[in-house]
């Protein structure tokens, strides 16, 4: 049984922000609800006011700007999967949508919700980290933009203030050409990540450039392994260097043991998945552009 609560359907971002301001810390933003409703059922969250932003059209847009692609926080995972802009310019994001939870959940879950919920294993986060995404946060007073890597603070903790909502995600363009995603779940459908990782990179004559490695489910928050990135950055790609970077990525993770796997297993899997993703990303970075 879920806790008692009140509800308002926001008609605009301004309306939603006004409601947040009015109801304070008891208010919760409701978008797809795929995390919030489960949390409420488990009594992990007991909001007294639900501010439903799922009908706010201005949050559901994907735009190509100068130097970035802007994805509204209310875009669903199915919306990302079906977006021609995303398919053409952000194949890494298209790829992760195919591994996100399950088909039905993709029709409800939103990109903003996946970030704001800040689950260490949130599927969209490692690819967005690897794409150097930033998050646009809005209050009634205005907007601020923060790096996704800074936005995530800890398990289910972000920089989001009580009167703020995630407005959009910015992905700087052009994105690196080499992109790869690896998710290890314990089953194939409806799987939750035991380890997930995303890599993006460019190369110039075999030299790795703009290497970014995002990791999920192996630390209190999804994060970029700068140790691993530094090993690759500016160096000629080789199996040896990829293995060293993968080892560094594993060492930069702080996995826990739970019902889905032991810390040792996760540590080993970071190494294996990062190594695979580095190879795949490097190969793709070498592919001739269309």
């Amino acid at each position: 049984m879920l806790p008692q609560t009140d509800y308002v359907k926001a008609s605009s971002v301004a309306h939603a922000l006004d409601m947040l301001h009015q109801y304070g810390t008891g208010a919760a933003i409701l978008a797809g609800g795929t995390d919030l409703i489960v949390d409420m059922r488990e009594r992990r969250r007991e909001p007294t006011m639900l501010v439903d932003i799922s009908s706010v059209e201005e949050l559901a847009e994907i735009d190509v700007g100068t130097g970035n692609i802007r994805i509204g926080a209310g875009v669903t995972v199915a919306g990302l999967a079906g977006s021609a802009i995303v398919q053409h310019q952000l194949p890494l994001v298209t790829e992760v949508t195919r591994h996100f939870a399950d088909y039905l959940t993709r029709n409800r879950a939103t990109i903003g919700g996946n970030l704001a919920n800040a689950s260490p294993g949130a599927d969209l986060v490692p690819p967005l980290l690897a794409l150097n995404a930033s998050v646009v946060l809005a209050t009634a007073q205005g907007e601020r933009t923060v790096d996704l890597n800074d936005f995530l603070v800890g398990p289910r903790r972000t920089l989001l203030l009580w009167n703020e909502l995630v407005r959009a995600i910015h992905i700087p363009t052009p994105v690196p050409r080499g992109q790869a995603y690896e998710k290890l779940g314990l089953r194939t459908g409806g799987a939750i990540a035991v380890v997930s990782c995303a890599v993006s990179m460019d190369q110039a004559g075999g030299e790795c450039r703009r290497v970014r490695i995002g990791l999920g489910a192996v630390a209190p928050r999804a994060f970029r392994s700068s140790e691993a990135e530094q090993i690759m950055e500016g160096h000629m790609f080789s199996s040896d260097i990829a293995a060293r970077a993968a080892e560094a990525a594993a060492n930069s993770s702080q996995p826990i043991s739970d019902v889905r796997g032991s810390a040792e297993y996760r540590h080993a899997m970071v190494r294996a998945l990062v190594e695979r993703a580095l190879h795949a990303a490097y190969e793709r970075s070498s592919e001739p552009q269309e």
Partner: protein, 766 residues
């Protein structure tokens, strides 16, 4: 097979694939399952469950809950009668009434986390849930025992202070009391020949220990029960269960009232697999209804289904096989330790009697231990007890084949049991096609296809299940328009309305569509054992055939009256009655005249088969193991089975495919993860990982149709044996792919990776 083709031609309806009678209701959402019942004044019941795995109940204070507006009653064990030990029939697992009652509501002690301690009835689910939080239970927490081998230790904490080990020589026997206090409820032993001498004769011996985790049937519909205790003392139940008569018997017994006062109405059931043979909620709902005078419905949530119903045993099996160089088995030994959960009654007896059954072995020693631990009391799960033993024994068989340098199917064929040979229980085997099945496996294109690519392997395994008989009842009545109504007492879980209607149609010379089958409540049809033990199409089928034959014979008499001849002169052929002199009447014509030719035509019959007809299955599987992550992918799966005459081949295939899917989950992913204090840490479908569409390939089925002599159409139970081979077949494929033998289920990625870090043991025998 040519004999199969010949048999197919001998039937008009059996062996065809009509669409199911209840299909329309089920594809339009009109079918009514247990939770779909709604009655005027209906109250919602909820159950308070123990937060401790092992504790003494010092007291329960429900006064605050009762004071909450909207709460109409609270019941605890004090509201149920006290029971002595008494066996009651639950088809595959004999039940003990005291155990059943104690499991439904704890009295002095709670024995697992999730054990019911009280229940509330209220005007809404929200109020009922709030009331649970207001019931104060004073517990004295005791140390729990959480696995079988630990529980066997004489120094371990004891669940039942007065329990002593019984020594048992036969399955289902209570045995003789050894007088030794222990968590071992019973020690069962089968012995054939001279095992010691047999091992001394062997050229090659394999010996290994295997373990399996607790797993759940995983039916999608949670348990639910609705009860109304009327003012005249009559009780009506609307249940989701595998048999209304079982619910009636258990509910009446637990409540201490005569069975004749209880009427159980079966609702549609959303899967059972053995887990809905036992009642958990019906007597509680009935007691709450008695207290309130109103109907009460209790529906579990998914977490309750996991922690408070009956999964199947976690096990430890030690296996030893001895063979001559030519592969002849000289001796076999197994020691099986099965966790029963909180009360005695694991399926170790079935494990003990089935594991070696596919083989003719002169010298066998089987020791089985039924051990209580602080976990939910286990219930039946599809061929209960057999899969765990088969995982160990079939793994050992393939390891032996590899040691001998023999093909694993050749080794099995070399020792194959044939009709007339003695089973491990000493009983001779009825005609069945184990040998034909293994030959079909050997010659199948799958077995002969090359295994291409690294990290890939192939495994095989076979399995045996005895199947259940038990009694069923059926009533066949002719309608004036030439149709037939069929009422049986068998709850339809997977299409038995169709498979039973087909048998009536076969006898009466009409089509399956002419028969309107329904599932009767306990007041409208004779006693019928529950749907379990692969018995319904077989044993209820026997009752249907017998009732239909009576109707046919009566129809012949009526046709004789209409055709003005003697019944003996009537030739009945495909629904037509001929007088031998060129005149004939259709089924419809005789039906239309029934009242004026001697009254309505209806007949009932019951079955009571003395022979049942067991079943064998054999599986071939190809896997690929990811050497970096330990993940196993099923590449190809072919399931062979002696199914007797396949009454409805699509349903037979469906049973096999469904069992393989469960087997794949059991092999690779499914397990209860326990905390140190006995809490199930993954009590949701998120982390109790049943296979999705993306985790399974298409599953090819090969039906071997060796007719069952115990049924007039040769029908054999098919639903259970198919879950026996998958775990061993997959383990053997993993061994073939990696050179490592996995000895624990599930073979989760982490465990496979650990195994890969060990040196390879030539263990490549698929």
């Amino acid at each position: 097979m040519t004999s199969t083709e010949a048999r197919k031609q001998q039937y008009r309806v059996i062996g065809t694939r009509p669409i199911r009678h209840d299909g329309l209701d089920k594809v339009t959402g009109r079918a009514r399952y247990g939770a779909d019942i709604h009655l005027p004044g209906l109250l919602t019941g909820k159950v308070l469950r123990s937060p401790h795995a092992h504790a003494r109940i010092r007291g329960i204070d429900a006064s605050k809950a009762l004071a909450l507006p909207g709460v109409e009653a609270v019941v605890t064990a004090a509201d149920f009668p006290i029971h002595e030990d008494m066996e009651i029939d639950l088809v595959e697992t004999l039940g003990n009434l005291r155990v059943l009652a104690e499991n439904i509501m704890a009295s002095e002690k709670v024995l697992y986390r999730g054990h019911a301690v009280a229940a509330v009835a209220a005007t809404s689910a929200a109020i009922a849930e709030e009331a649970l939080g207001l019931i104060e239970v004073d517990y004295e927490v005791l140390p729990p025992v959480l696995n079988g081998p630990d529980a066997m230790d004489a120094n371990s904490p004891r669940l039942h202070e007065n329990m002593t080990t019984h020594s048992v020589a036969k399955r289902f026997e209570r045995g003789t009391d050894t007088g030794v206090g222990s968590n071992i409820a019973s020690h069962l032993q089968f012995k054939l020949g001279d095992p010691e001498a047999g091992f001394a004769e062997a050229d090659v011996i394999v010996e290994r220990e295997y373990t399996t985790s607790t797993v759940h049937q995983g039916y999608i519909e949670p348990h639910t029960a609705t009860a109304l205790w009327d003012f005249d003392g009559q009780v009506t139940l609307w249940s989701s269960s595998q048999g209304a008569f079982g619910m009636r018997a258990q509910t009446a017994a637990v409540l201490g009232i005569p069975e004749s006062r209880v009427k159980a109405i079966p609702m549609e059931i959303g899967g059972g697999f053995g887990g809905k043979l036992n009642t958990y909620l019906d007597p509680v709902a009935a007691a709450l209804s008695r207290e309130t005078g109103k109907p009460v419905k209790i529906t579990m949530d998914r977490a309750e289904v996991f922690i408070a119903t009956g999964p199947t045993s976690a096990t430890r099996s030690r296996i030893k096989l001895g063979a001559k160089k030519d592969g002849t088995l000289t001796a076999a030994w197994s020691e099986l330790v099965y966790e029963a959960g909180a009360f005695p009654g694991s399926p170790v007896g079935a494990g003990a009697s089935t594991g070696f059954a596919p083989y003719k072995i002169e010298n066998i020693l089987v020791d089985g231990y039924d051990v209580v631990v602080n976990k939910p009391k286990v219930a039946a799960y599809r061929a209960p007890g057999s899969p765990q033993a088969a995982f160990a024994i079939e793994s050992a068989m393939s390891e032996l084949a590899e040691k001998l340098g023999m093909d694993p199917i050749e080794l099995r064929l070399k020792n194959v049991i044939r009709p007339g040979d003695r089973l491990p229980t000493g009983v001779p085997l009825l005609p069945t096609g184990c040998e034909e099945m293994e030959k079909a496996m050997r010659s199948h294109p799958h077995y002969n296809a090359p295994i291409e690519g690294p990290n890939r392997g192939r495994g095989v395994a076979v399995g045996f299940w005895g199947n259940a008989g038990n009694s069923s009842s059926a009533t066949v009545s002719v309608t004036a328009d030439g149709g037939v109504t069929l009422v049986t007492g068998s709850v339809d879980i997977g299409g038995t309305r169709a498979s039973l209607a087909m048998q009536a149609a076969e006898v009466l010379g009409i089509t399956a569509e002419d028969v309107r089958p329904s599932v009767g409540d306990t007041a409208s049809v004779g006693w019928t054992g529950q749907t379990g033990g692969s018995r319904t199409t077989f044993s209820t089928g026997l009752a249907v055939v017998a009732a239909a034959e009576k109707v046919r014979d009566e129809m012949v008499k009526r046709a004789a009256i209409l055709l003005e001849t003697e019944p003996e002169k009537i030739e009945f052929d495909a629904g037509t009655f001929k007088n031998g002199a060129g005149k004939s009447l259709s089924f419809q014509e005789v039906a239309a005249a029934q009242v004026r030719t001697g009254g309505s035509i209806t007949a009932s019959a019951s079955s009571n088969p003395r022979q049942v007809g067991p079943a064998f299955a054999g599986h071939i599987v190809d896997v690929e193991v990811d050497p970096e992550t330990g993940k196993v992918e099923i590449l190809r799966y072919t399931a062979f089975q002696d199914v007797g005459t396949a009454a409805h081949p699509s349903y037979v295939e469906g049973q096999i495919q469904g069992a393989v899917a469960q087997g794949v989950g059991w092999a690779l992913n499914e397990e209860y993860v326990w905390s140190e204090d006995g809490r199930m840490e993954n009590a949701s479908f998120l982390d109790y990982r049943m296979p999705t569409t993306l985790d399974l390939p298409m599953i090819e089925t090969v039906l071997i149709e060796e007719p069952n002599p115990a049924h007039p159409f040769g029908i054999r139970g098919v639903g259970e044996v198919c879950i026996v081979p998958p775990m061993a077949a997959i383990a053997n494929a993993v061994a073939n792919a990696t050179g490592r033998r996995l000895t624990h289920l599930p073979m989760s990625p982490g465990r496979i990776l650990e195994a890969l870090e060990r040196p390879a043991t030539n263990g490549t025998g698929g």
